[in-house]
């Protein structure tokens, strides 16, 4: 159910008339699939060096799973569309045939989603011993 709130408009000074009245829905936490979590974690681990090649290497080394370039980029596109990561182009090197790299970094929303997912698992695991 929605909760009634009085919130000032985005660009208006706070005075009586410019208050906007609206319902805000309790936003559900962004749900992350397992592979999405892995990709986000890989980006987080790599920090400044996160572009296609190292991300794949990181996933293959740590999670021991083969990733095709198509699967990786379609996931990255999705994460970007959801506003969890940001990408930009830079560093064209000769080794890459003069083509630029697409770098990724986590946005605060991505960080929040990862933390949320972890919290869910933590709660589910609490008190269990397998």
């Amino acid at each position: 159910m929605g909760e009634l709130r009085r919130t000032p408009g985005p660009h208006s000074p706070i005075d009586g008339d410019s208050y906007l009245l609206y319902y805000t829905e309790q936003m559900p936490p962004t749900y992350l699939g397992e592979f999405e979590q892995i990709v986000l974690l890989a980006i987080l681990r790599l920090g400044e060096k996160a572009y296609g090649v190292p991300i794949r290497a990181e996933i293959e080394n740590r999670a021991s799973r083969k990733v095709t370039v198509g699967a990786l980029y379609s996931t990255l596109d999705r994460l970007e569309a959801k506003g969890l990561v940001h990408s930009w182009f830079a560093d064209a090197t000769a080794q890459r045939g003069g083509r630029s790299k697409r770098y990724f970094k986590l946005l605060p929303a991505g960080m929040e989603a990862l933390a949320g997912s972890k919290a869910v698992f933590d709660r589910m695991w609490e008190g269990l011993h397998v």
Partner: protein, 843 residues
């Protein structure tokens, strides 16, 4: 170092596209060696990129937002050109919308009832469906549909002493339930109506508003419809006008269970899970059963029609407007094309202005697709603006057309609605997008041209040639329209001067219904003759343009042919100045007989007795098997006249004397007056209304007006085409002006040099004017050529005028030359105001 497979790389580029593809290809190349340079691995990775291609979250066309914001910025900087372009487009889209909504309401619009998609119309091709008794017998056994019966329409209505023509329809008591109809006031009648002592009636919204002034206390009022009393129980919803568009029903009456009448058609709602095929199958079975029960009834053999109720129901309604609407669609399509060319021209001139900027950007590395997209975005924005304005203009022109519609005969237009519904909106959007593509492509191509050299130098030959070509196309198209308009106007003029064959001046008619005896009508005619200012009066069964129809055959019950017919007073021919060319007229006296004397017109005489003298021959009148045939003896031949329209072909006609045929009780009292005929309508009406008895007046007017009104079709066509033609000319004139003005702007420097070297203003003016005229002249030549091929298609609208009428052709060409001079005049004058010093510094 080995290279990855080339073909796989280009596939990758196609799949992913843009800089994203670069990044992926770079990644793959970086790891290619490490993976042992396996081509198989590389192909596998490329194919996996299908996932990227079809991912829902793919970043569609990166940078598209920038394209649009740049386009908006450019338009804001130069709002005049963007507005002109939008307005041109909006005008053309507006008229196209109106025309399409016309087509829509004729062919596709469903009834304004809930779940209208399930309503079907069941009838026979050329006969009534069955008797009312039959219907009540099979109604409750139907599986695939719930069916309501609709029986005959037409008639007149009386409220107190006033009578008027009203479309009435008898419907079965489940009519409102089947169609799920609501009311504005009161309620629809239900099953109790089938045997009510004082039957209920529901009146249409329009009738309620016009005849009863929207009286809210109308429920319970008594009215007489076709000689029977009814009590009004409800007023229909405004949007519901019956199930037979474009006919508008004025009153719905219940179909009595014991009725002997025949029902015209069924209007039915398909049961859940049933479809048109199953309804057809069931109706075929029922029809076969009816036929088996009554093999003598030939009407039951007429083929069944089961169709969704959409648009105009009757074939003749659909075909009537088809030629003119086809013509108008073609013409408004042409107007849209002219508008598109205009916008393309404007965009091209913008591209010319921006040529250097574009060339610089291109040499700095902007890709061709990117520049193409940018221009295209501008086109789309203009199309969007044009679309929004076009909806407004379409609404207005729809209203204007509705104001104009009353010149149509009532049955033709009341059922037409020119609202914008989803189909119209869809059409508009499609037309807008199609035109955006049409007018954005050429400038987009021009702006993304490969060769930068001439552009850098400011050379603009290519686009100005292209724009001249566009202008030629516009002039040619609009000249064709102008010629077509001219032809139609000439045809109208011709039709207006057609001799009707009878005298219409100073003649007033009053249509009455009288069930009383002949002497009463005779005394009415006598009293009318005695009115001051009345010269003479006569009676006829029907009057132009509603002349009656009858069957005629040379032998008893053998192949009757249709002919026009009229029952007239003996003095009719003299009164109407229709000469008897052979034989004699009717005798002043006589008695009702089964073997009347008849007078034929010349066409009839020629058709039946091409070689011999028809006077003294006999002819059978009446349509078997419904009517008994009468044997007529021909006593004279009258000259042909017009019977239904001024533009009809000669039709066969039979006259019978009123002394020998009692007629149907409907008469036209025609009065010849001494002065202005309108002044005598009132006195004649008063006399008729107060003549007592059962006489009811239902229409009146002057014959001149009736003749003028019968030209509605020609007037309608000519004026609609003229409106569109005018619009086309305005658009094309803007085009010519744009081309000339732009060339003046581009040649400012040249003009400045000429002036500095001593050219007189007149030389410069002539130079500019000649440019405009040259473009126009080529356009006119092309337009004349185009017209030579297209005007043949107009033949059906010209009523005998040759499509190659030299006056229309010459007048249109001259008009265009005048328009071109006007359109070039202003830029020419501006050119001479150029100050040589400024011009030389001008860039």
């Amino acid at each position: 170092m080995s290279d990855p497979p080339k073909f796989a790389e280009s596939l990758l580029r196609r799949l992913v596209g843009g800089r994203d593809a670069d990044a992926v290809a770079g990644d793959l190349r970086e790891t290619f060696e490490a993976r042992g340079a396996s081509r198989l691995w590389y192909w596998g990775q490329v194919l996996s990129c299908f996932a990227v291609r079809f991912s829902l979250h793919r970043r569609a066309l990166p940078g598209i937002g920038t394209d649009f914001s740049r386009a908006v910025r450019r338009m804001r900087r130069n709002p005049g050109y963007a507005l002109t372009a939008m307005l041109c487009l909006a005008l053309a889209l507006g008229v196209n919308t109106t025309l399409f909504s016309f087509l829509d309401s004729m062919y596709f619009r469903k009834l304004p009832v809930p779940d209208a998609g399930r309503i079907v119309e069941i009838r026979r091709q050329k006969a009534e469906f069955c008797t009312a008794q039959n219907y009540f017998a099979f109604r409750d056994g139907l599986r695939s549909v719930q069916a309501a019966a609709v029986s005959g329409s037409g008639g007149y209505m009386e409220v107190g002493r006033t009578a008027f023509v009203a479309q009435a329809e008898r419907v079965s008591s489940n009519y409102a339930r089947v169609l799920r109809l609501g009311t504005t006031l009161g309620a629809w009648f239900g099953p109790e109506s089938e045997s009510a002592a004082e039957p209920p009636a529901v009146i249409g919204y329009r009738l309620w508003k016009t005849r009863f002034a929207g009286d809210p206390s109308i429920i319970g009022t008594r009215v007489r419809v076709m000689e029977r009393d009814y009590r009004i129980v409800g007023v229909a919803r405004p949007e519901f006008t019956g199930t037979l568009p474009p006919m508008t029903m004025d009153v719905w009456l219940p179909l009595a269970r014991r009725s002997n009448s025949r029902i015209t058609s069924l209007v039915a709602r398909m049961a859940p899970g049933e479809n048109l095929a199953s309804v057809r199958a069931e109706m075929r079975v029922i029809s076969a059963r009816l036929q088996a029960a009554d093999p003598a009834d030939k009407t039951l053999a007429s083929p069944l029609v089961v169709q969704p109720d959409a648009g105009f129901v009757f074939e003749w309604n659909r075909t009537f407007f088809l030629p003119i609407l086809t013509l108008l669609s073609a013409v408004s399509g042409m107007v849209l094309l002219i508008a598109c060319v205009n916008v393309a021209n404007l965009l091209l001139s913008r591209a010319t202005v921006r040529q250097r900027e574009i060339a610089i950007r291109q040499s700095l590395g902007a890709s061709r697709p990117r520049l193409f997209r940018e221009t295209f975005a501008e086109g789309l924005l203009i199309a969007a603006g044009g679309l929004a304005l076009g909806i407004l203009i379409g609404y207005w022109s729809g209203r204007a057309l509705e104001l104009f519609l009353p010149s149509l005969p009532a049955a033709m237009y009341h059922g037409l609605t020119l609202d914008v519904d989803w189909r119209v909106a869809l059409f508009l959007a499609a037309a807008g997008i199609a035109s955006a593509i049409l007018f954005s492509l050429p400038p987009a191509m021009a702006s993304s041209r490969r060769n930068l050299n001439p552009a850098m130098k400011g050379d603009t030959i290519h686009t100005s040639r292209q724009r001249e070509l566009y202008s030629v196309v516009q002039v040619a198209l609009s000249l064709t329209l102008l010629i077509a308009t001219g032809l139609l106007l000439r045809a109208l003029d011709r039709a207006q001067h057609v001799d009707p064959g009878f005298a219409s001046g100073h003649r007033v008619f009053v249509n009455v219904r009288d069930l009383a005896s002949q002497p009463q009508m005779d005394s009415l005619v006598e009293r009318v003759r005695e009115l001051a200012g009345v010269e003479d009066a006569t009676l006829a069964g029907t009057i132009f343009p509603n002349t009656g129809v009858d069957c005629v055959s040379a032998e008893h019950e053998a192949n009757p042919r249709q002919a026009r017919s009229n029952i007239v007073d003996p003095n009719y021919f003299d009164f109407m100045r229709i000469p008897i060319v052979k034989g004699s007229g009717f005798a002043p006296a006589g008695s009702i007989t089964e073997t009347p004397r008849v007078i034929l017109n010349e066409t009839m005489a020629r058709n039946f007795w091409p070689d011999t003298d028809p006077v003294g021959k006999t002819i059978w009148l009446g349509c078997p098997p419904d009517q008994t045939q009468k044997l007529g003896t021909v006593i004279g031949i009258a000259r042909d006249t017009k019977y239904t329209s001024m533009v009809e072909r000669p039709m066969p006609m039979v006259y019978v004397s009123r002394r020998e045929d009692a007629g149907s009780g409907f008469w036209s009292l025609i009065v010849r007056t001494a002065g202005e005929p309108h002044r005598w309508i009132r006195p004649v009406l008063d006399l008729a209304q107060h003549s007592g008895g059962s006489l009811i007046v239902y229409d009146s007017g002057t014959l001149d007006d009736a003749v003028a009104q019968s030209l509605w079709e020609v007037k309608w066509q000519a004026s609609l085409l003229a409106a569109l033609g005018l619009l086309a000319i305005v658009l094309a004139a803007i085009g010519v002006y744009g081309v000339v003005a732009c060339s003046v702007a581009q040649r400012t420097r040249e003009i400045g040099i000429r002036m500095a070297l001593g050219a007189v203003p007149l030389d410069v003016q002539w130079m500019v004017l000649a440019h405009g005229l040259r473009v126009t002249a080529i356009g006119i030549a092309a337009g004349l050529l185009l017209s030579a091929f297209t005007v043949r298609l107009l033949r059906g609208f010209l009523y005998g005028l040759s499509p190659f009428d030299p006056i229309a052709f010459a007048a249109a060409s001259l008009a265009w030359i005048a328009i071109a001079v006007l359109a070039s005049w202003y830029p020419a004058r501006r050119a001479t105001r150029v100050d040589p010093l400024t011009a030389l510094n001008y860039e």
